[in-house]
């Protein structure tokens, strides 16, 4: 504890006493600029929240479908398994920003009737496609971690394969993967900033506008602060959920 404090004190001192510090402080940590930029960025951050919330709901459902497809047994379902596997490989392999650009610039350019040309629509779709590939793998790991005896037990009670999956396997699998799931969601929330690439004025784009107008980088620090403020509570929330679940199942928290 003491050594940690000493370490950070030394690092802090080194930074503050460096020759470039006054300039850095002025262009990154300007109090007035911060007070000016923060509310504007925060108000545009609502757009990011909308984008990632909708994407998260879609990801949860679509990824589950992919994971279930991939776990279907027998040769009959081989094409579906193959589809799910290929999908995961492709969308985990392509950088998110490219998917956003390809959909966001490419699809409206087709000028097809009935296709929306809103940036938000394509951004949400792109984020959903990419993150479903990750989350499907998380789900799959969860499904495979459930001991086969649980399935045997469910089937022995006359439950169908679908019922066993729905009532016995998935509820346990999903509980198990909540922490890695949140991991991916935090990634998704941060990647909502990539929508700025389409020129859509969400929080990052707003910060960029202010930065370009005032020649000051403090807006970026303000946005970074907003991100940290929303992600840390989520992590604590999941910790709490896990602890509560454990207490409920094992009682008294003796473990």
């Amino acid at each position: 504890m003491v050594s940690t404090l000493v370490f950070f004190a030394i690092v802090g001192l080194l930074i503050i006493r460096s020759s470039g510090w006054p300039v850095v402080r002025q262009s990154f940590f300007d109090g007035e600029e911060f007070a000016l930029a923060f509310p504007e960025i925060l108000s545009k951050f609502g757009r990011n929240v909308f984008i990632f919330c909708v994407a998260e709901v879609l990801v949860l459902t679509f990824a589950l479908l992919l994971a279930v497809l991939r776990s279907l047994p027998g040769p009959v379902f081989a094409p579906l398994r193959l589809f799910a596997a290929a999908y995961t490989d492709i969308f985990r392999g392509v950088p998110t920003i490219l998917v956003i650009a390809l959909l966001g610039f490419g699809m409206p350019a087709l000028e097809l009737k009935g296709l929306p040309n809103s940036d938000v629509f394509w951004a949400i779709l792109a984020l959903t496609l990419v993150y479903s590939a990750y989350v499907a793998e998380v789900y799959r790991a969860g499904i495979e971690s459930i001991h086969p005896s649980q399935v045997a037990s469910a089937r022995s009670l006359g439950l169908t394969r679908g019922q066993s999956l729905r009532h016995v396997v998935l509820p346990q699998a999903v509980r198990r993967v909540v922490p890695p799931l949140l991991n991916d969601f935090i990634g998704l929330q941060k990647d909502s900033a990539l929508v700025a690439f389409l020129g859509y004025t969400e929080a990052l784009q707003q910060a960029r506008i202010i930065q370009a107008t005032d020649f000051n980088f403090t807006p970026y620090v303000a946005l970074a602060l907003i991100y940290v403020c929303i992600t840390i509570p989520q992590t604590r929330f999941v910790d709490w959920l896990i602890a509560r679940e454990r207490t409920k199942r094992q009682g008294g928290g003796e473990l």
Binding site: R155, G158, Q172, R249
Partner: protein, 230 residues
């Protein structure tokens, strides 16, 4: 791996399967419940061939209750839900019907006050009694018990065996794989000795335990006695 098992179980009969680990007791039970693929051979229940092509395996399993060595309760559900789930989903009973049935069974096995607990909070003996109640809730034609006391603390074995004894007295048809020879002698109408996937010998318990015909059965029983298990 089973090779040539010929076993007929009458209504209300209790058959105990004995034999060393790996002799095929569990496999036989799992085959009867269609949990293992049956490559060859046929199985009938109440005159219906359940191994025939096109038979709905789910409806077969609903007629058979099986209890496993490791309980296999659903850890994310309360005891009550463990017992009502399949009643509602497989037999399409109403929630109220299922609950009434579950309450009655849990009460019968001394678990009335555990209904809203989660399985991890229960002792092994209690968990195994829940597993028995869960299987019985579907009113099966036959119960299969797969070494149901092998994973239990010795002090908890009696409570589970008592529950099974009660079932036998109530006329439940049962096939029981067990290492509890005293219990088998007590409760079985017939005992079958398995070795290497075959039923080597079967007969009433008095004869099987005191004067087995086969040398292998005798050796097995001698080893059990030497191990202090009988």
């Amino acid at each position: 791996m089973l090779r040539g098992v010929d076993l007929a179980v009458e209504d209300h009969e209790v058959v105990c399967l004995i034999g060393a680990s790996g002799s095929g007791k569990s496999t036989l039970l799992r085959c009867i419940d269609l949990l293992e693929p049956v490559d060859a051979g046929r199985i009938w229940i109440e005159g219906d061939e359940v191994t025939a092509a096109g038979v709905d395996q789910n409806s077969v399993r609903r007629r058979i209750g099986i209890v496993f060595q490791a309980f296999n309760l659903f850890p994310h559900m309360t005891v009550m839900r463990n017992v009502t789930l399949a009643q509602e989903k497989a037999l399409e009973r109403s929630a109220a019907q299922a609950r009434t049935k579950a309450t009655e069974l849990l009460g019968r096995f001394g678990l009335a006050d555990k209904a809203e607990d989660y399985p991890d909070r229960l002792s092994g003996g209690q968990q195994q009694r829940v597993a028995i109640a869960r299987a019985l809730a579907l009113d099966p034609d036959v119960m299969l018990l797969d070494e149901v006391t092998s994973a239990l603390d010795p002090v908890l074995v009696a409570e589970v065996l008592d529950a099974i004894r009660e079932l036998a007295v109530g006329g439940m048809t049962m096939v029981i794989a067990t290492h509890e020879m005293g219990f088998a002698r007590d409760v079985a109408n017939r005992v079958a000795f398995l070795e290497q996937g075959r039923i080597l010998e079967e007969g009433p318990p008095e004869q099987m335990f005191s004067e087995p015909r086969e040398e292998a059965t005798r050796r097995f029983l001698d080893r059990i006695i030497a191990a202090g298990r009988m």
